[in-house]
């Protein structure tokens, strides 16, 4: 979806339960939904939309493993090879003493990595401005949006019919 060049036809709903029914209807009618926007996460929406499960946690595990290995191996190298010093009569490879920092770095790498990944794959970041369809979506309106770039009048009428049949309180168009 290119920015700044898309014609969008969208309908606003007043309640998430009506929204869910509408989305189901749209799937049944084989309508190609561009996106659904809600003011809060609506449970049950993802499976109806057919969204594949997020794999952020896989990325998180990998980042965490990197942090874990990095921390433990670095401390081992420092205290066994680079500059071994005897601290408190403990052996050079003092594994129990390495554990706290290793754990912290695991969590740090996993958390920072996942958060950065999240913003990158969502196309968000400090100062990013993504076009929004309506200011009330982050308030109390639920939105189903269709891309009508190459749609003829029939298709648009069909979509408008869909919106009125499923109880949308408003239907609008916007170019984003």
């Amino acid at each position: 979806m290119k920015k700044g060049a898309n014609e969008v036809l969208f309908g606003l709903y007043d309640d998430e339960e009506i929204l869910l029914k509408a989305v189901k209807q749209a799937k049944n009618d084989h309508l190609d939904i561009m996106d659904v926007y809600t003011p809060f996460p609506v449970h049950g929406l993802d499976p109806i939309l057919g969204l594949s499960e997020s794999r952020l946690h896989v990325a998180g595990f990998i980042y965490g493993a990197i942090g874990c290995l990095f921390g433990f191996l670095f401390m081992t190298w420092v205290f066994t090879r680079d500059w071994p010093i005897i601290f408190g009569g403990k052996p050079y490879f003092s594994a129990p003493a390495f554990i706290p920092i290793t754990f912290e770095l695991t969590v740090l790498f996993a958390a920072v990595g996942m958060v950065v990944t999240f913003y990158v794959i969502c196309g968000m970041g400090p100062g990013t401005i993504n076009p929004t369809l309506d200011d009330r979506i982050t308030d109390d309106k639920f939105c189903i949006a269709f891309n009508t770039n190459d749609a003829n009048q029939d298709a648009i009428d069909r979509l408008k019919g869909f919106f009125s049949a499923t109880g949308a309180s408003e239907v609008n168009t916007k170019t984003i």
């Binding site: 998430e16 003011p39 996460p41 449970h43 420092v78 770095l105 958390a111 920072v112 982050t138 308030d139």
Partner: protein
Amino acid sequence: MSATVSTIRQPLIEGGKTYHQITEDICTPTERTPSTAWVIAFLFAVTGLAVYVFCLAWTIWNGIGTWDLNRTIGWGWDITNFVWWVGIGHAGTLISAILLLFRQKWRTGVNRAAEAMTIFAVICAGQFPLIHMGRLWLAFFIFPYPNTRGPLWVNFNSPLLWDVFAISTYFTVSLLFWYTGLVPDFATIRDRAKGIRRKLYDFLAFGWTGSAKHWQRWESLSLVLAGLATPLVLSVHTIVSFDFATSVIPGWHTTIFPPYFVAGAIFSGFAMVQTLMLLTRKVLNLKEYITLEHIESMNKVILATGTIVGVAYLTELFIAWYSGYIYEQYAFYNRVLGPYWWSYVGMMACNVISPQVFWVKKWRRSIFVTFFMSIFVNIGMWFERFVIIATTLARDYLPSSWSYYTPTWVEIGLFVGTLGLFFTLYLIFSRVAPVIAIAEVKSILKSSGDQYAGPNAAHQHAAHSEAH
């Protein structure tokens, strides 16, 4: 979304709110000019902050000699305050992360403010390890970076360094967790704002649109961050406890410290959250979102963790006797009957005895009792850290080294000043950001709003199995 909710559950949102009303109620404090109460509080807080900056400058310029530390008692108010602030910070992560994992819906009324409290408490805590170094301009020594001094690395075996990593990680992860939750709420404010405010919140909202895919990833991220933050919060105060427990002096070297410190941290943190929430709900008119149910739930956590701390105190006393180790036995004799006996009494009274009032339901739900209790608990927890640190150091193995410590005006000023720093940050937060998690509260409206749940519910057992 509507799920089966037992009618035994009390509502968590009062006033028969709609989604729009929730937006209005929570966003308005950031949009209108601050009330007189806010302004007066801010003036007090900024004065405290000024005291802090002055005492800080005094300490750095003149040195640690302006404090009353001596060779016997090397840690006094400085580390007591450090541990106190870090402990307070733990409640925020617990409310956000652990209560999320336990699916306790009442957390949505208080988690945003509690997370903010965590970040500000950690900022206050982090001041003390830095300024107690003395030569603050050499603070970079503690970071392990390749340098031209060997390279001389830091002592990874030292709990003091573990603290550096733990506090830094904790601050970073809490900040990320807090901010991730804030992004959708900043978007809500953004979409209501005009002019320069619009530009500001455009920046802060990171381009949030409310897309279903983004919400899905957001929820997944929140869950995993919660899963990470939970062991993190345990590990941070555990590592702080290692500062003491890895030593060999009686009263410090004891295996129960890690979970005992964590329980104590949650205890004091929840007390501080109560203090803040009682003030916030009154001043910002948010009583319908931070209800007596929330207050009561937090008081129950305070009772539970206070009891755990009490069990730990009695365990320490008993095992000190049981060990047959005369120095351990003396350490506890000294705590109860030595020169600092008053701090021990304060600790026991405030931490073990006073929370027992919360067995009585009427007092659990009393704003008056809760407010005073929240202050007592924090005083008690301050005494606990003082007992552990100063009392133990004052009299350990060698009687000829026994000493006494009284804080100087600089140290007292620094502590009072960090209170100023904390409240300044919190008051700014309450102006700029929504103090309640708007999107999360909306998501529990259908299950916990008082028109749906509890005795006044219009619909009972709203079970729509097709939604699943």
